[in-house]
C-alpha cells in the first residue's frame, strides 16, 4: 500500500513543483538581490549589443576573457554529462547480465532527469550557498542570484559572475558544471546494487543521498566548509581536492560498499554465471569516460588557463598508467591480460588522479595511475573474494579504493609548482612541505568515510521502510529487472 502510493506519487510532487515554481520566482523577480559572495556585474558583451556605444580596450579584453573561459567550461560541462550517458551507462550496462541491461541504463538516464531537477530547485543552493561550516543556505534557491535578471536602472539584462577577476564565468556556468557532478555521483553508487534493487527504492535513495550526503560534503570541501583547504572552519587544515576525490569518489565508493552489504548478494552469487554480457560496451564506455574525464578534472580549474592544461595532462597520464598497471598485474598473476582489466585500469587511474589533478606533476601522475591500477585490481579480486560482499560492478573496488588512494597520495605529491594555493609555501611531502598536508588529507578521508557509512546506512533503512524493502522479489531477480521493473527487453532480433 505504502509502496504503491510511493510509486509515482512521490515524484508527482516534484513534477508539480516544477510547474508552480516559475510563478513564485517570477513574482519575486522585481528587485534583483545584491549578490555579496560573488562579484556580479554588468557584462561587457551585453553592453556591446548597443552598437552606438564605444567600447574600451579593457571591455573588449574582459568580454574576450569571459568568452574563452566560458567556452572551455561549457565544453567541460557537456563532457561531464557525457560521462554519465553515454559513458557510464555503457560502462556499467555492459557489465551486467543482458536481462538487467536496461535497468542500469535507466538508472543513468533517470538520474540525469531527477538530480538535475533537484539541483535546480535547491541542490546548488544547499551545496554552494553562503559559507557556513556545515550546510549551504537559501541564497540560490530556484536559481535566484544565478539566473540573468533585468536591471531597470541599467536598462539591460545582468548576469551574476563567478570567479576571480579577470578569469570569470557566469555563475550559471558554475552551477551547470557542478550540477553534472551531482548526477554522476549517485549514478556511480548504482554499480554496487545493480541487478537487484527496486527502481522506486533507487530513486528515493538517490534523492535523499544527494540532499543529505552530497550537498553537505560538497559544501564542506568546496564552499568554505569544514574540509575546505585553508578555510576558516577547516578541520586539520582541510583537504586538497581538485576535482572530487572525497566529494565524488570516496563518498560514492564507500556508500556503494554499504549498499552492497545492506542489500545483500545477488541470487546465485558465487556460482552462477554472472559475467558481463557485453564487454564491448564496457570498453567503449571506458573510452568515453576517459574522454569525459578531461572535462571533469581539467574543467575543475573553472577557467581555461595554464593549470587547466596541467590538470588535463596528469589526468591523461594517470589513466594511461592505470591501464598498464592493472593489465600487467593481471598478466603476471593470472597469466592473461584481460580487456576488462584494461578498461577498469583506465577508470582506476582516472579516479585516483581526480583529487590531485591540479596539484601534481606529470611523472607523479604516472606513478599514481600505476599504483591505482594495481591496488584496485587487488581490491576487486582478492579483497572482494576474501570478504564475500557482492559489489556487483565494483563501485567500491574502483571508486572507494581508488579515491582513497588518490586523496592520500595527493598529500604526498602535491606541489606549489602546479598550484600555488598556499601563498608560496610548499605543499606535499615530496615538495618539501612536511606531513601537514598529508595529515589534512588523511583526516578528510576519514571524515568522508565515517560520514558516508553512517549516513548511507541510515538512509537505506529509511528507504527500506518507506518502499517496503530495497530488493525486487526473487522472481523479479530471476526474470531480470528489465522485464520486472520496466516490461522491456534490451535486445530483440527480428
Amino acid at each position: 500500500m505504502l509502496e504503491f502510493s510511493l510509486r509515482g506519487y512521490s515524484f508527482a510532487v516534484l513534477f508539480a513543483a516544477s510547474v508552480v515554481c516559475p510563478t513564485v520566482v517570477i513574482a519575486q523577480q522585481a528587485p534583483p538581490q545584491k549578490i555579496e559572495t560573488e562579484s556580479a556585474e554588468v557584462s561587457g558583451t551585453e553592453l556591446a549589443e548597443e552598437p552606438d556605444q564605444e567600447l574600451s580596450d579593457r571591455q573588449i579584453a574582459e568580454s574576450a576573457a569571459l568568452a574563452g573561459h566560458n567556452a572551455w567550461m561549457l565544453t567541460s560541462t557537456a563532457l561531464v554529462l557525457f560521462m554519465t550517458a553515454p559513458g557510464l551507462a555503457m560502462f556499467y550496462g555492459g557489465l551486467v547480465r543482458s536481462k538487467n541491461v536496461l535497468s542500469v541504463l535507466m538508472q543513468c538516464v533517470f538520474l540525469m532527469g531527477l538530480m538535475t531537477v533537484l539541483w535546480a530547485l535547491y541542490g546548488y543552493s544547499f551545496a554552494f550557498g553562503g559559507d557556513g561550516p556545515y550546510f549551504g543556505n537559501g541564497e540560490y534557491l530556484f536559481m535566484q542570484n544565478v539566473q540573468r535578471t533585468w536591471d531597470d536602472a541599467a536598462g539591460a539584462a545582468i548576469t551574476p559572475l563567478f570567479g576571480e577577476y579577470p578569469a570569470q564565468i557566469p555563475t550559471l556556468t558554475h552551477m551547470l558544471f557542478q550540477g553534472m557532478f551531482f548526477i554522476i555521483t549517485p549514478a556511480l553508487i548504482c554499480g554496487a546494487f545493480a541487478e537487484r534493487m527496486k527502481f522506486n527504492a533507487m530513486a528515493l535513495f538517490s534523492i535523499l543521498w544527494g540532499t543529505f550526503v552530497y550537498c553537505p560534503l560538497c559544501h564542506w570541501v568546496w564552499d568554505g566548509g569544514i574540509l575546505t583547504f585553508g578555510g576558516d572552519h577547516s578541520i586539520a587544515g582541510g583537504a586538497l581536492d581538485f576535482a572530487g576525490g572525497t566529494v565524488v569518489h570516496i563518498s560514492s565508493g564507500i556508500s556503494a560498499l554499504v549498499c552492497a552489504i545492506v542489500i545483500g548478494r545477488r541470487r546465485g552469487f558465487g556460482h552462477e554465471d554472472m559475467r558481463p554480457h557485453n564487454l564491448t560496451y564496457t570498453v567503449i564506455g571506458a573510452g568515453m569516460l576517459w574522454v569525459g574525464w578531461f572535462g571533469f578534472n581539467a574543467g575543475s580549474e573553472l577557467a581555461s588557463d595554464e593549470l587547466t592544461s596541467s590538470a588535463f595532462a596528469v589526468t591523461h597520464f594517470s589513466a594511461a598508467a592505470g591501464v598498464l598497471g592493472w593489465v600487467i598485474y593481471e598478466w603476471l598473476t593470472s597469466g592473461k591480460p584481460s580487456v576488462l582489466g584494461a578498461a577498469s585500469g583506465a577508470v582506476a587511474g582516472l579516479v585516483c588522479i581526480t583529487p590531485a589533478a591540479g596539484f601534481v606533476q606529470p611523472m607523479p601522475a604516472l606513478a599514481m595511475g600505476a599504483i591505482a591500477g594495481v591496488m584496485c585490481a587487488f581490491a576487486c579480486g582478492t579483497i572482494k573474494r576474501k570478504f564475500g560482499y557482492d559489489d556487483s560492478l565494483d563501485a567500491f573496488g574502483v571508486h572507494g579504493v581508488g579515491g582513497t588512494l588518490g586523496a592520500i597520495l595527493t598529500g604526498v605529491f602535491a606541489t606549489r609548482a602546479c598550484w600555488d594555493i598556499a601563498d608560496g609555501s610548499k605543499l606535499g611531502v615530496i615538495d618539501g612541505g612536511g606531513i601537514k598536508v598529508l595529515i589534512g588529507q588523511i583526516v578528510a578521508t576519514a571524515v568522508t568515510w565515517v560520514f558516508s557509512i553512517v549516513a548511507t546506512f541510515i538512509l537505506l533503512k529509511v528507504v527500506a521502510a518507506l518502499t517496503g524493502g530495497l530488493r525486487v522479489s526473487e522472481e523479479g531477480e530471476i526474470r531480470g529487472l528489465d522485464d520486472f521493473d520496466h516490461s522491456e527487453e534490451g535486445y530483440i532480433i527480428h
Binding site: 558465487g270 556460482h271 554465471d273 576487486c380 572482494k384 557482492d390 573496488g397
Partner: protein
C-alpha cells in the same frame, strides 16, 4: 531414413561440414546450442567472483540420410569432430517416418 543429430565443438563445424560434403552429403541443418555433460562444472573467476560455467556453447548438426549411408555419416562425423578431450560431444540417431522437399513436394529419399 535416419536423422543423425551430432552435438560438436564449434571450431569443428567447418571440418565436419567439409568432410560430409566430400562424402557427397548434400544437406544439413545447424543450430547453436549449449551443452551440459562431463565437461560441466568448471569454475572461473571474474574480478574476484567465482562462477560455474555449467553450459558450454556447442553446435548441433542435423543430417537426414537414407538408411544405407547413415553409418558412413556417423563415421565421418566422428573422424572429423574428435579431439579426444572431454566435451567432444554426442551423436544421436533416430528414425524418420517421412521426408518432404517443400519446393517440389518430393518425398522419401528423393527429397534428401
Amino acid at each position: 531414413m535416419k536423422k543423425i543429430e551430432a552435438i560438436v565443438r564449434h571450431f569443428k563445424l567447418e571440418d565436419v561440414k567439409n568432410a560430409l560434403s566430400e562424402q557427397g552429403i548434400a544437406g544439413m541443418t545447424i543450430t547453436e546450442v549449449r551443452g551440459f555433460g562431463r565437461q560441466k562444472g568448471h569454475t572461473e573467476t571474474y574480478r574476484g567472483t567465482e562462477y560455474a560455467v555449467d553450459f558450454v556453447p556447442k553446435v548441433k548438426i542435423e543430417v537426414a540420410v537414407d538408411h544405407e549411408r547413415s553409418q558412413l555419416v556417423i563415421d565421418t562425423i566422428i573422424k572429423a569432430a574428435q579431439t579426444g578431450q572431454i566435451g567432444d560431444g554426442k551423436i544421436f540417431v533416430s528414425d524418420l517416418s517421412e521426408t518432404i522437399r517443400i519446393r517440389t513436394g518430393e518425398v522419401g529419399n528423393e527429397a534428401l
